[in-house]
Amino acid sequence: MFRQETGRLTAALVRALGDFDMAEELVQESLLEAVEHWPKDGIPDKPGAWLLTTARRKAIDQFRRQARFRDKLALLEGVLMRDDTAEGDDRLRLIFTCCHPALSREAQVALTLRAVAGLTTTEIARAFITSEATIAQRIVRAKRKIVDAKIPYRVPAERDMGERLDEVLAVLYLMFNEGYLATAGERASRRDLAEDAVWLAGLMVRLMPEEPEALGLLALMRLHLARADSRFDDEGNLVLLQDQDRSRWDQERIGSALVALRRAAALRRSGPYQLQAAIAACHAEARAWEATDWRQIVALYDALLELLPSPVVQLNRAIARRYLDGADAALPDVDALKEALEDYYLFHATRAELLRDLGRDAEGRAALARALELTANPAERALLQRRLG
């Protein structure tokens, strides 16, 4: 419930004060005060205004202590008087600064979660199963670099926009996967980062409605989440797409993803997230595994490969070909990736399946054993163990 307010507040304060570190600190302190007071005194009618007043009070206290900041007092007056468009700009500036390519990916993720999504250091640490000290240090270092190296607080220029937006979307997708790929057991004790990432992607779409890739990413995340509940059975075992109970898929989420994807398509600038979302949509729209449109999926992978030539995408295309053209057609495609994907467990797991289809059981079992050596994820391991028998 805080996250709507925090990002907005941080953004407004950074703009007014021109001091990322201080603004961020003020917001965190105000949130702590809220956590302390609201349970006792009740939630105020306008939580945002309450937080802003608190942050301003704290800022004024600090400025009084530091005489050289007196002239900044006036800046605070301006914070309240902004219209909606200006506020949108503030938040974009904040997001692009948090996801500046001069910061490490880890720092980008932590900073975005804290400054834009309003998570506390404790929450971020819990989400990444790491210590609070590690996250706190990561954030402090990032903020220090923003100040010391003078990373500008602004929306990137038009000519850099494509690259910089890619960076933001990559941060959000990594955040999403961190949450989404957590196993059921882990998920119980972890904050759901996937939900935070979806919220942030939604925010990007609201702030930059003409960017089809932001819409594509939002659609992709929604489609993954729509199937999240059916990915594990009651014992926490991984359930493959073909065995999932499709009646448990969240149709509302699928619907909203398809709307986002259509909006993206109408902007007529294709991109990797849109194509991945389109592939996920093919699965989501198939009423049964047997009804999957593999021809369409292979074609979408071909388009994706043109934009994103990667061996993992090629592997996925080969898997789709298994169902379109058969294992004998898919196996050579997979084998061609041996050099690039030697250490990737899914390469061996896929080979194992194809070899089994072709009746080459001994080779299949060897490939399965190799796959098992290469993954530490307990759910993945359990699935491979079951196949080994």
């Binding site: 500046h100 001069a102 010391d148 190296a149 003078k150 990373i151 500008p152 990137p156 850099d160």
Partner: protein, 119 residues
């Protein structure tokens, strides 16, 4: 805001550069000269450095100065030159680094600002 751009390259490419015939080297300088001209107003200093083999390192061991042959940066890369630039912010410095014509690597480092008057 002042930054130093450190121009680096792999040791292998640095050697190739050194071995280049003079006429070819002159031609290769043209885009570098253009770069310096293009950003002339923002560049406050800089030099191309002689190759790694000319470097001498003075290293202090328990306060005692020990002179050794070679650069102190170990690894596959070496620094071939630097430029000191005065620009608005990191983005502008990165923009200049992205335009560096010879490839390789460019490290962008802000300098410590103690509020001294500009020279």
């Amino acid at each position: 805001m002042k930054y130093v751009l450190l121009f680096g390259d792999t040791k292998e490419r640095a050697k190739q550069w050194e071995a280049m015939p003079e006429a070819q080297k002159q031609a290769a300088y043209a885009p570098i000269t253009q770069w310096f001209e293009r950003y002339g107003r923002k560049i406050t200093g800089g030099h191309e450095l002689q190759p790694d083999r000319t470097a001498t390192t003075v290293k202090f061991n328990n306060g005692k100065a020990v002179v050794t042959d070679g650069p102190f940066i170990e690894g596959k890369e070496s620094i071939g030159g630097y430029a000191e630039v005065n620009v608005a912010d990191l983005d502008e410095a990165i923009e200049m680094a992205k335009g560096w014509p010879t490839g390789g690597l460019v490290e962008v480092r802000p300098v410590v600002d103690r509020g001294e008057p500009q020279r």
